[in-house]
């Protein structure tokens, strides 16, 4: 179980510098954050931060406790049984086959979302590992730019 991948959700007050407090806990201890997403929770004064990291159980337990200690932190969830999704967008030159790209994106819960004069943009939304597979597969269409959103997760 050493250095297993973990997903942690942190519910925080929407206030200045709260994100630096969270991120500082990781960087100050030399732990890497694999991905991080933040957005306000609708109709509340809180935001939800989803952090994907890797570490031993012990390290993760320490991190969760330290996160809890931060004054503007309301709750910390260390997910076990969860639904996790991520989205990705890729920009592809227009000289590739639109139909093939559309079919590939479709297989990963996505589609072409924009067609410009030189490039098109396709997006997918799926489990992070599947997003990884999609990005592997899309390579043959010579993507010019790729962006991943980072994970969001909810307990089942």
């Amino acid at each position: 179980m050493e250095n297993a991948r973990r997903v942690i959700s942190v519910i925080v007050l929407n206030e200045a510098s709260v994100l630096s407090r969270i991120v500082g806990l990781f960087s100050g201890r030399g732990y890497n954050i694999e991905s991080l997403t933040v957005a306000p929770i609708p109709d509340s004064k809180y935001s939800r931060i989803t952090i994907v990291t890797a570490g031993s159980l012990r390290v993760i337990e320490q991190i969760t406790k330290q996160l809890h200690k931060l004054i503007p932190v309301l709750k910390v969830y260390e997910h076990a049984d969860l639904v996790e999704k991520e989205m990705a967008m890729v920009k592809i030159p227009m000289n590739e086959s639109l139909g093939d790209i559309e079919a590939l994106a479709h297989a990963y819960n996505g589609r072409i979302v924009n067609v410009g004069s030189d490039t098109l943009i396709a997006m997918v939304a799926d489990e992070p590992s599947r997003v990884g597979h999609f990005l592997e597969a899309i390579k043959r269409f010579h993507p010019k730019e790729i962006v991943r959103s980072g994970s969001v997760a909810l307990e089942r």
Partner: protein, 544 residues
């Protein structure tokens, strides 16, 4: 009430019943200093360095249990104070430190004396604020005091831009603090406490391992009652000295070289590996941090002990531990804390014991950092909590003298002694001026070994005696230094001279330095080599 941000700071300090602020002015905090000039409710003590202001506030907080307050300006004033913040953070000392900041319009422009103060203080405070609107000041200051003193105490930093201290807004300090996201657990879990007492009642060799939280939560009396009732022997960590009286037969002399956490446990896998551990801590993040606790209890140790008392009375039979107490009495006899007198040179341990004999409970003891600190923790006869003020977590040389000033301000009836080294004392020697100006007659006892002794000891033992950059043979004349500031100095080489100097210093109403020439190569024992286990503890060392 419509007042300026600067006036709000004053009103908040008055509402919090602050009686003394330690500080140092500068451009960004001048609006507040102007209001300090106009008020008569609290004293402002001008230290001669911002680091000293924060350490003095720490000393004051340690001696009283109240929140210490320091005030500093932006940029270099703030950065000078950071060591104090970090020190208070590591030792869980309640402080509110207020700093000035450049006006809002200049923040982020690399303005003169601008530094991202909250960015710097974030990892070394319990919480911090950058106040961007005077209307927020009453709430922020009230929260700052509340957060500093509740839960696991700690320093809170409030950074206020200059235009915010000039801004007029409504001051209302009456609202209770309500923080939805901060509710420290104070009562222990009843089921867990029940199981813990059962475990103690069934144990053969129980031991109380008393930490600094007992002092800060004011639980020492309860601990004394608990240990007396159960007859369970105790060791105190470095920070907990004075919890039990030095002559309590249940107190085992101090563990390890540096009686605390990772340095006490040595190699973790070997630490008390057959023991079951009950860990009570107000801070859930501390439970099982280094050593796994079988019975973790989160809560204020004072409340937890109150919860434990009736159960303990019922279930714990003190007679059961008699054989264990015998073993310990034997250990204490076999390995007493001791030192040998040799030659003419004074032994540093003797000096500390002697202060204890002459002043005992009448003195509050602060220290700097190094060998003198360890010897003080080992050899001074502490008889009450809050008698001992020392930098445990950060180990800050330069802490002792300003902290002793804060202690003297808090407890003027008692003698305030700073036991220090010839290295450490020079790190805040300028505070002689503060001591003279505010009539805070601290006695600085330098255990002068012409070395950065603690580092020298490690070089002797683990670096084949290569004493790299630790020889302090070149020294100032400490007697003249004291005199130059308006204090009194003594240079002491014999026992008689020491007695006479200490007696004189206690009677003098002015700051003093007693420069005691001690044996240069004395080592602190016992010690646990870094990463070693207690099993391999070094109890003696003979120079070969």
């Amino acid at each position: 009430m419509q007042i300026s941000g600067a006036q709000m700071v004053i009103e908040a300090l008055i509402a919090e019943e602050v009686e003394v602020v330690f500080g140092y002015p500068g451009g960004a905090i001048m609006n507040v200093y102007d209001e300090i000039y106009k008020q008569r409710s609290f004293q402002h003590i001008l230290t001669r360095h911002e680091q000293a202001a924060v350490h003095a506030a720490e000393g004051y907080a340690k001696a009283t249990g109240k929140v210490g307050v320091a005030m500093i300006t932006s940029g270099p004033g703030f950065t000078n104070g950071v060591t104090g913040l970090a020190d208070a953070y590591m030792d869980s000392i309640p402080l509110v430190v207020i700093s000035g900041q450049v006006p809002m319009s200049l923040i982020g422009t690399d303005a003169f004396q601008e530094i991202d103060a909250v960015g710097i203080s974030r990892p070394c405070t319990k919480h911090n604020y950058l106040v961007t609107d005077a209307a927020d000041l009453p709430r922020v200051l009230k929260e700052a005091f509340y957060i500093a003193r509740t839960g696991r105490p700690g320093p809170v930093h409030v950074d206020i831009p200059k235009d915010v201290t000039a801004q007029i807004a409504t001051f209302d300090y009456s609202k209770e603090v309500e923080l939805e996201t901060y509710k420290p657990t104070t009562k222990g879990n009843a089921r867990q406490i029940k199981k813990a007492i059962e475990a103690i009642a069934a144990a053969k060799r129980p031991l109380l391992y008393l930490g600094g939280g007992i002092v800060s939560s004011g639980a020492a009396d309860l601990v004394r009652e608990f240990s007396k009732m159960t007859q369970i022997p105790a060791v105190e960590t470095f920070m907990a000295r004075g919890t039990l009286r030095f002559d309590d037969p249940l107190l085992i002399s101090m563990l390890g070289m540096h009686g605390f956490d990772d340095r006490v446990t040595g190699k973790l896998s070997e630490f008390a590996k057959n023991a079951q551990i009950i860990h009570v801590d107000i801070d859930p993040a501390s439970v099982s941090k280094l050593v796994h606790a079988h019975y973790p209890i989160v809560g204020d140790v004072k409340n937890v002990l109150e919860q434990m008392m009736p159960l303990a009375k019922e279930q714990i039979d003190p007679v059961r531990y008699a054989p264990w107490l015998n073993t310990i009495a034997n250990f204490n006899k076999l390995h007493p804390l001791s030192y040998t007198e040799e030659g003419d040179r004074l032994k540093p341990q003797w000096v500390i014991e002697r202060i204890g004999q002459l002043l005992g409970d009448k003195a509050n003891i602060s220290t700097d950092v190094g060998q003198h600190q360890m010897w003080t923790a080992q050899f001074y006869p502490f008889s009450r909590p809050r008698q001992w003020v020392s930098s445990g977590g950060l180990g800050t040389m330069g802490f002792g003298f300003p902290a002793a000033l804060g202690v003297k301000r808090a407890d003027p009836e008692r003698v305030s002694i700073n036991i220090t080294g010839d290295g450490s004392i020079l790190m805040n020697i300028q505070e002689l001026m503060t001591a003279v100006e505010y009539k805070l007659p601290v006695i600085n006892v330098i255990l002068n070994n012409n070395f950065l002794g603690m580092v020298r000891q490690w070089q002797t033992l683990f670096y084949d005696k290569r004493h790299s950059q630790t020889d302090l043979s070149i020294q100032p004349d400490f007697v003249k230094v004291a005199e130059a500031f308006g204090g009194v100095g003594y240079r002491v080489t014999t026992k008689e001279e020491f007695d006479a100097a200490l007696k004189d210093a206690v009677e003098k109403n002015v700051v003093t330095i007693i420069d005691v020439v001690v044996n240069r190569f004395e080592n602190v024992l016992p010690m646990v080599p870094a990463g070693g286990s207690l099993f391999n503890m070094m109890l003696e060392y003979k120079e070969k």
